[in-house]
């Protein structure tokens, strides 16, 4: 039977709508499943003012037969089969005759019992009981109360429509009774109307200027946009997030275009598109990749025949652009260096000092990074970028449009005629904003971003703030992922441990936590981020473990290790080698000395192994050192047949201590070489892998 629930709310943000739909569906489905009500369909629809659940559920619970167990068979019947007082009493208490009793086998033996048919409850009744819990299920980042109620939700709930099989499901939530009525568009058709089914409901809403399906609204915005763009011979500056927001916020979308004076085109596209997006939620329009003096907007109306909405938006946008131009000119009238000088008055973090302090640390860190990496960097330009990268935080433009931090500094640096490398590094130094977004294109931008993020992480952890569960108040995880992403993408070959030491050292005495504690925490923390990145890339978990087991001091090499394992995992030599490595490990147990006395190698098999190992090691070592783990591994594979013969012909645990020690030392030397490539003991081979 058809189920329809509509919760009418005051305008909810998109993220909250998504949370509500997801968490309420899960709760509803679980509540029905636990009560044995079959659910053949359950889907959700929404606008910013409506959370809608449409389902197809069984009309009621299935009937079921319960067996009620009474006295034991021995106690219930005498030897001649006549019922005892116990049997008679039990039958009477259950309202049946003795003839209805039957024998039930239980773990404890034979008992008498009676079968009772229990009628299933009607779904409607059950819904009435569970729906208040279902609506209370979602947890929003910020919960509110309203009026004199005690219920907490994302925004005030103002009405409930709930039907099952065309009838109202009676329930009350915080004083609000469910019914069969809803309302249309808040301005265009606010009157209430009744619905008897989802088809009724959807049609009724459409007649009252509400499209209930957000996908349909999105498609409508897209189609209208395309039509307008064709006429304008232009393209949209893509902004999926804005499209999603508008498709949520607007029940009856009408797309319109508007223009602004060409004079404002002197402002960079970053500023123009941000001014349009923030505040008015307008799309910026481009022609041949350049900003056009046009915008597209989406209004919650049937049309704009008099053009008042277009003109209103044009007027507001013009004022915003005028402001932006004022900021642009004012900011540019002051050299970036002078802006930077004011950073001593801007707090980075209470215990970590001002942004001037941060800039000073960044200067030292990028200097270090520039020296440590193999690639050549423009040192002077990079240091200038570190000194100036936070300067835009005190500019009017960033105060007005905080999301443009970094970019504005870069644009100002370019305008001021600073070297292109410096300007670009400043521009890019907040990238990547998330794992899915791009990293800085320039090496200098990458190093500055790396230094900035690492400095924040080390500082925040150093004053005792850690991430717990899902909370990440200082963006530690995001920043750490950014650090890993940059190192991997730019293939930065450097010791991460020493970099951490440096980042700690530049803080001087500010960090109160013991250094060893900070380092230990951060090593684990970064290993965790690296693992997440590798998992996202689709590497097998055991290969990731094997690669990380060989060390995470060089993040770039950790990735090359997992790639090498991945590349060779289907080689016919791979599994035999893994098994052999495990055998070596097993026999060795804990650590052992690895100095081999050549004179004490008596058997041919051990002499052969030793001789080949010397060659293999000398060939593999330089390859591993430069990160070519694939080739190094291929060379190591050559040890496998020799090890095989060795284990066959030679008794490692020889009676004579000298021989035994020497053989263990040889194996230990081999294990050490293997560990430079990967911790093979972590690799799961056929037969070891868990079933299913």
């Amino acid at each position: 039977m058809e189920f329809l629930l509509e919760i009418r709310v005051e305008e909810m943000p998109l993220a909250h709508v998504r949370t509500a739909l997801a968490e309420m569906s899960v709760r509803l489905a679980a509540a029905l499943a636990s009560r044995k009500i079959a659910v053949s369909a359950l889907r959700t629809l929404s606008t910013t003012r409506r959370l809608v659940f449409v389902g197809d559920f069984a009309a009621g619970q299935p009937d079921r037969e319960d067996v009620i167990v009474g006295p034991s068979k021995v106690a219930a019947f005498a030897a001649d089969g006549a019922p005892t007082a116990a049997a008679l009493g039990f039958a009477r208490s259950k309202g049946v005759s003795v003839a209805d009793l039957e024998v039930v086998r239980t773990e404890k033996g034979e008992y008498v019992g009676v079968r009772k048919l229990v009628r299933g409850q009607a779904t409607s009744e059950i819904l009435g009981r569970v729906l208040p819990e279902v609506v209370a299920a979602p947890s929003f980042p910020k919960m509110m109360r309203w009026g004199t109620g005690t219920f907490r939700f994302s925004r005030p709930i103002r009405g409930i429509l709930c039907l099952f099989g065309g009838r109202v499901v009676p329930f009350v939530l915080d004083g609000l009774a469910a019914g069969d009525a809803t309302t249309g568009h808040s301005l265009l058709a606010p009157e209430a109307f009744r619905a008897g089914s989802f088809a009724d409901y959807e049609k009724g809403l459409r007649e009252r200027c509400v499209v209930i399906d957000s996908e349909e609204r999105k498609a409508s915005i897209r189609a209208q946009t395309e039509r307008l763009l064709t006429t304008l011979e232009a393209e949209l500056y893509p902004d999926e997030a804005l499209l999603d927001k508008l498709a949520n916020d607007i029940e009856w979308p009408h797309v319109f275009s508007g223009a602004f004076p060409e004079a404002y085109l002197e402002l960079p596209i970053e500023v123009l598109s941000t001014a349009m997006r923030e505040g008015q939620k307008l799309f910026s329009v481009v022609r041949n990749g350049r900003q056009a003096p046009l915008f597209l907007g989406v209004a919650d109306v049937a049309g704009d025949p008099k053009g008042v909405i277009r003109r209103g938006n044009e007027r507001v946008l013009k004022a915003r652009l005028e402001d932006a131009r004022f900021f642009w000119e004012q900011d540019l009238a002051v050299p970036l260096k002078k802006h930077a000088a004011r950073l001593k008055n801007v707090l980075f973090q209470e215990k970590l000092g001002s942004y001037a302090d941060k800039a000073e640390r960044l200067r030292k860190l990028v200097l270090y990074l520039g020296e440590k990496i193999e690639e050549k960097t423009a040192a002077k330009e990079l240091i200038a970028a570190a000194e100036l990268c936070k300067a835009d935080l005190v500019t009017d433009m960033v105060r007005e449009f905080p999301s443009l931090q970094g970019k504005v500094g870069g644009l100002y640096a370019r305008r001021a005629g600073l070297p292109a490398i410096t300007a670009q590094a400043i521009y890019e130094h907040y990238e990547p904003q998330s794992v899915d977004e791009r990293s800085p294109a320039s090496l200098e931008g990458a190093l500055l971003s790396l230094a900035d993020k690492l400095d924040s992480i080390v500082g925040v952890v150093g004053i005792g703030i850690q991430t717990t569960g899902s909370s990440d108040p200082f963006g530690l995880r995001r920043n750490a992922q950014g650090v890993c992403k940059i190192i991997l993408e730019k293939r930065l070959n450097l010791s991460f441990g020493r970099l951490l030491d440096k980042a700690l050292a530049v803080y001087g005495e500010r960090l109160k936590k013991p250094k060893a504690e900070i380092i230990a925490y951060l090593r684990d923390f970064f290993a965790g981020r690296l693992r997440t990145l590798f998992e996202r890339e689709g590497f097998r978990y055991d290969l990731i473990n094997a690669a990380l087991g060989a060390g995470v001091d060089n993040l770039y090499y950790a990735r090359r290790r997992v790639k090498a394992l991945d590349a060779l995992k289907s080689s016919p030599h791979f599994e035999p080698m893994i098994l052999m490595a495990k055998r070596v490990n097993n026999i060795l147990g804990g650590p052992a000395p690895s100095a081999v006395d050549e004179g004490a190698l008596v058997e041919k098999a051990e002499r052969d192994l030793h001789a080949t190992f010397a060659i293999v090691r000398d060939n593999a070592r330089p390859l591993a050192a430069k990160g070519d783990f694939e080739q190094a591994q291929r060379i190591l594979f050559r040890l496998e047949p020799l090890l095989n013969v060795f284990f066959e012909k030679v008794l490692v645990m020889a009676e004579e201590a000298k021989l035994r020690r020497n053989r263990l030392a040889l194996l230990q030397a081999i294990r050490k070489s293997l560990l430079q490539i990967a911790d093979y003991s972590q690799v799961v081979v056929e037969g070891e892998r868990p079933k299913g």
Binding site: E11, A299, G312
Partner: protein, 287 residues
């Protein structure tokens, strides 16, 4: 329609909704939210309905009268309804119609915009109301004030009068607005904006401002200790405004900023607690 007619329409409308029409508060404040008619009245348990115009000063927004949209003193129309009525959005839309705005021609949206004021330990959930892309109102359900969870929940509706009037008159320059039929905003306010911008940014004596802050802060403390929460709160407002002036003068260092905000906040929270705990709330003596 002139700005004063807009105010008259709003007065008429909200008086009709049962609001008491309060006079503007006679101290410098950054927003209508900060005056006792809102701050104290949202804290206690009794119903409350009030509407008033509040001149609001934001020294750093001064533009020497040269920016058509920004001024260091603007006017808010502040409404508080406690508890928030179930049909409040509808009532709000009615108030716009009462100001002569035909909503059928326009795009009106409630756009997510939660509000927070750390200085007075307050936050709420709500929207900015956008009319054809112009933000005309802040609409907020208070959840906390003075560090205290409020109940019943008040709703605050704050109209930006200049913005709304620019919309109604279709003007691009605030100074072109008609305050009354024959007095423009320019006549009334241009000289003031120029002089106060000069004062806020360049001429205010930093030493004197610091002294004023210290004096008001000490006074607030001794008054709060004696349970005189209403004058104590006035002193907090003075602190807050002097702090804003020091900020506009660029005279506040990192550590000072943190310290001064914390000082004011601590005082405000103390005042709020005493108000709720003491007899003042029951006496109905907030204004």
């Amino acid at each position: 329609m002139s700005l004063q007619n807009l105010i008259l329409n709003l007065h008429h409308f909200w008086a009709g909704q049962g609001c008491y029409l309060a006079p503007s508060y006679d101290l410098e404040v950054g927003a209508g939210t900060m005056t006792p008619d809102t701050f104290f009245r949202v804290l206690d348990k009794r119903p409350w309905k009030v509407a008033y115009v509040q001149p609001s000063r934001r020294p750093t927004d001064g533009r020497y009268g040269e920016n058509p949209n920004r001024v260091q003193k603007h006017h808010q129309y502040q409404v508080i309804l406690k508890p928030s009525p179930a049909d409040i959005q509808k009532v709000y839309l009615e108030s716009l119609r009462a100001c002569g705005i035909d909503l059928r021609d326009h795009d009106l949206r409630f756009d997510e915009d939660d509000w927070e004021s750390p200085t007075i330990g307050a936050w709420g959930v709500g929207w900015q109301v956008m009319l054809d892309g112009l933000e005309i109102t802040q609409f907020t359900y208070f959840q906390q004030a003075g560090g205290i969870e409020v109940f019943p929940i008040p709703v605050e509706i704050t109209y930006g009068l200049e913005r709304l009037e620019m919309f109604i008159e279709g003007k691009e320059d605030m100074y072109d607005l008609q305050w009354s039929d024959d007095v423009t905003y320019r006549d009334l306010r241009l000289a003031e904006e120029r002089q106060f911008s000069e004062f806020n940014f360049r001429q205010a004596t930093v030493k004197s401002l610091r002294d004023q802050f210290a004096l008001a802060e000490a006074e607030a403390r001794q008054l709060a200790d004696k349970g005189l929460v209403l004058p104590a709160y006035d002193m907090c407002l003075k602190c807050s405004h002097v702090f804003n002036l020091l900020d506009a003068r660029g005279a506040i260092s990192v550590t000072e900023r943190v310290k001064m905000i914390a000082q004011v906040r601590a005082l405000v929270i103390q005042v709020a607690r005493k108000y709720v705990g003491s007899g003042t709330a029951a006496e109905g003596g907030a204004s």
